[in-house]
């Protein structure tokens, strides 16, 4: 098993005819994902890498079953497109779009909650259940099927770690990218909870970074709710103080937000911590061995 998606997940791509939507559809298909339909207003009747395109989700639903949507819709239209997904009764949206205004993000997440749907993102690299379903940017060859569940804000960082694990023969159940923030639909603690409940995940990898308090909150949550081994890596040990490093909140102010503080909190919560991806491999082997 895997969390959020599995080998039967039928995927619709919003914004499928765009540059990114079209390329990623190809890559998702190559990874074995069941991409059944796409939507781009005004492009009904076209097809993208063999996937039929519709004007409205409801039109696609007349022809296909759909379990999840991945959206590449540009920021100005992303909110309405997201709500179209929820109004269609679809319960999972991977929202890759970056630069959506905060007020729109908050509104669309509110609607998702009211409809009982989940949003991964916005600004997310998406997620991959290797060998089963890829919804997003995770490079297929860096991941392989297995029992490590991984969660990360950062996309690229999870590819780095995935690459190291895969090269060492350690597979993953699902790898989830939360997105860079500052506002998140699916939260880190929700993902941790899903991994805790997933019988095929035996170790949880959590990738964190300096700034904010997400890792400290995760530590508190882990201490209370997670029985599986957690291996965490916090990047930004060498980051300078007072300078924002890309992600919202990735900034050290005085003694707050440092990698050291986060590592300490996670270790106090019983998590194992790795300095670099290569360490991960050793720790996971040790954890499983013991």
């Amino acid at each position: 098993m895997s969390i959020l998606v599995n080998e039967n997940t039928k995927v619709l791509v919003q914004g499928i005819t765009g540059r990114s939507g079209s390329l990623q559809t190809k890559v998702m298909l190559e990874a074995g994902t069941k991409v059944v339909a796409g939507v781009t207003p005004g492009k009904a009747g076209e097809s993208v890498h063999g996937v039929p395109v519709y004007d409205l989700i409801e039109d696609a639903l007349e022809e296909h079953e759909v379990d999840a949507v991945i959206s590449f819709v540009p920021a100005p239209f992303a909110k309405d497109a997201a709500i179209e997904t929820f109004d269609s009764g679809i319960k999972l949206l991977v929202l890759t779009t970056e630069e959506i205004p905060d007020h729109d993000v908050v509104s669309l997440i509110g609607v998702a909650r009211a409809r009982g749907a989940r949003i991964v993102g916005p600004g997310t690299p998406g997620l991959i259940a290797p060998g089963k379903c890829k919804m997003g940017a995770h490079p297929t060859r860096m991941f392989t099927e297995g029992k490590v569940g991984m969660v990360s804000k950062s996309g690229a960082l999870s590819y780095e770690v995935g690459k190291s694990l895969t090269e060492a023969g350690i597979g993953q159940s699902t790898v989830v990218g939360l997105g860079g923030g500052p506002i998140w639909g699916l939260s880190q603690t929700e993902v941790l909870e899903l991994f805790e409940e997933d019988p095929e995940t035996d170790v949880i990898v959590m990738l964190g970074e300096i700034g904010g308090s997400m890792e400290e909150e995760a530590a508190a949550f882990i201490a209370e709710n997670i029985s599986k081994p957690v291996v965490a890596m916090i990047v930004g040990r060498a980051a300078p103080e007072g300078k924002s490093l890309g992600h919202a909140g990735a900034i050290i102010e005085g003694d707050r937000g440092t990698a050291q503080a986060k590592i300490a909190a996670l270790e106090a919560a019983g998590a194992h911590t790795a300095r670099i991806p290569a360490d991960m491999v050793d720790i996971i082997r040790k954890v499983r061995g013991g």
Binding site: S20, L23, Q24, V27, A75, P76, T96, E98, I100, P101, D102, H103, D104, V105, V106, S107, I109, G110, P125, G136, A137, H138, P139, M142, S152, K153, S154, G155, A156, L157, S158, Y159, E160, K163, G180, G181, I183, W184, G185, S187, L207, E209, I210, E217, V235, G236, R237, A238, A239, P240, K243, S244, L245, G246, H247, A248, A250, R275, I276, P277
Partner: protein
């Protein structure tokens, strides 16, 4: 985009939020808008201007003129004072803190109120967190009357109606200008009611496309005061930070960028730049990124480009790198690590140009650190 106090207060006034009488001096030679007594307030975007001597209470016009001249000379943080706001002196009985913003983790807007106004709220949050009342609310409904009554009680305001009215107006500013923060600190309780003695407004640049007129006018006004030429049109999402080392670093993700900094230090090196391009990029972005880093010569002794493409395409990254080399040359040692989406195409392009790439991040970092040290 952060607004100057005077810009925020002008916005407040447009939305009917009471502010003190004031006038702006755009240069030391501007005429005083009214006679002293008054308060002269440096207009800077950085915090802590009070402690830095950027606010002067003046009792007569002569004192005022001298203070203006003095304030315009000042630098607060890294910032030259852009303008000076002359404001009436106001008598008040209480100073509150009031703000609207978003709680990213809960993905809900937040009404923050504290009876401890007029001081640094982050300090209050650390030392006396129970003195701050935070209430999330439904973004589509705005703060509700009962929540404002709850806030009024925590502030010790006996008649909540005036606070309801104020919060409703703040919410309109928050929602209608696509603000990410609308803060009044202090909000003063005066004999005539509540009065915003300061303003802190952050506008969401991601919403600039739909607030063009308002955002542009505010930014142009800022540019006119500072002599800079900031623009709303961001071509890319690159984050660029200058560091003290000698190895120029470019990455296509914040997380890998930070990991690379860590690995550089572990390998005994020091980065000269942190330049991360985000996960949705194109040839022009990496072209510009290389340009920015190379402009830091002679500090930059070698260049390390770390690419692990998800949405980013390695063919496009190769295109950008090679174009830059063709146009300008890259006259320091270059190490490129390239894996991910369309890496076969990208690597082939690099190889044909005589630039072989690394697959392995630690290996690439070690090589780059060695080259930056001038080892050969």
């Amino acid at each position: 985009m952060k607004l100057y106090e005077f810009q925020g207060k002008r916005l407040f006034a447009e939305y009917g939020i009471p502010v003190p009488k004031s006038g702006l001096l755009r240069s030391p030679t501007d005429a005083m808008p009214f006679d002293a007594p008054g308060v002269l307030k440096s207009q800077v975007l950085v915090g802590g201007r009070g402690k830095a001597g950027g606010i002067r209470v003046v009792d007569d016009n002569e004192e005022a003129n001298l203070a203006v001249e003095d304030l315009f000379q000042k630098t607060i943080g890294d910032e030259q004072v852009a303008a000076v706001l002359m404001e009436e002196k106001v008598a008040f009985t209480n100073e509150y803190y009031l703000a609207l913003t978003h709680d990213g983790g809960r993905a809900l807007p937040l009404l923050i109120a504290s009876a401890s106004g007029g001081v640094d709220i982050e300090e209050v949050a650390r030392e006396n967190p129970e003195a701050i009342l935070t209430q999330v609310f439904d973004p589509l409904l705005g703060p509700l009357d009962y929540q404002v009554r709850r806030a009024a009680r925590s502030l010790g305001i006996a008649k909540p109606r005036q606070l309801s009215d104020l919060v409703a107006r703040m919410y309109r500013v928050f929602a209608e200008t696509d603000a990410t923060l609308v803060e009044i600190n202090p909000l003063a309780q005066t004999a005539d009611g509540l009065l915003a003695l300061d303003s802190k407004v952050l506008l969401d640049e991601k919403a600039a496309y739909r607030r063009k007129d308002v955002f542009s006018a505010l930014l142009e006004e800022q540019n006119a005061l500072t002599g800079q030429s900031e623009s709303l049109e961001k071509e890319d999402t690159t984050t660029f930070v200058d560091l003290d080392g000698d190895l120029g670093m470019i990455s296509d993700g914040a997380g890998t960028g930070m990991l690379t900094l860590d690995l550089i230090r572990d390998a005994g090196g020091e980065a000269a730049t942190f330049c991360e391009m985000g996960g949705f990029t194109n040839p022009q972005v990496i072209y510009d990124a290389i340009g920015s880093v190379m402009a830091r010569q002679p500090k930059v002794k070698a260049l390390l480009i770390v690419l692990i493409g998800g949405f980013n395409r390695m063919d496009e990254m190769a295109e950008g790198i090679l174009k830059y080399r063709e146009d300008h040359g890259i006259d320091v040692p270059l190490v490129v690590r390239m894996v991910g989406t369309l890496e076969e195409v990208g690597k082939e392009m690099m190889h044909e140009a005589g630039l072989d790439t690394f697959d392995d991040l630690p290996g690439a970092v070690e090589e780059a650190v060695r080259l930056a040290k001038g080892d050969s």
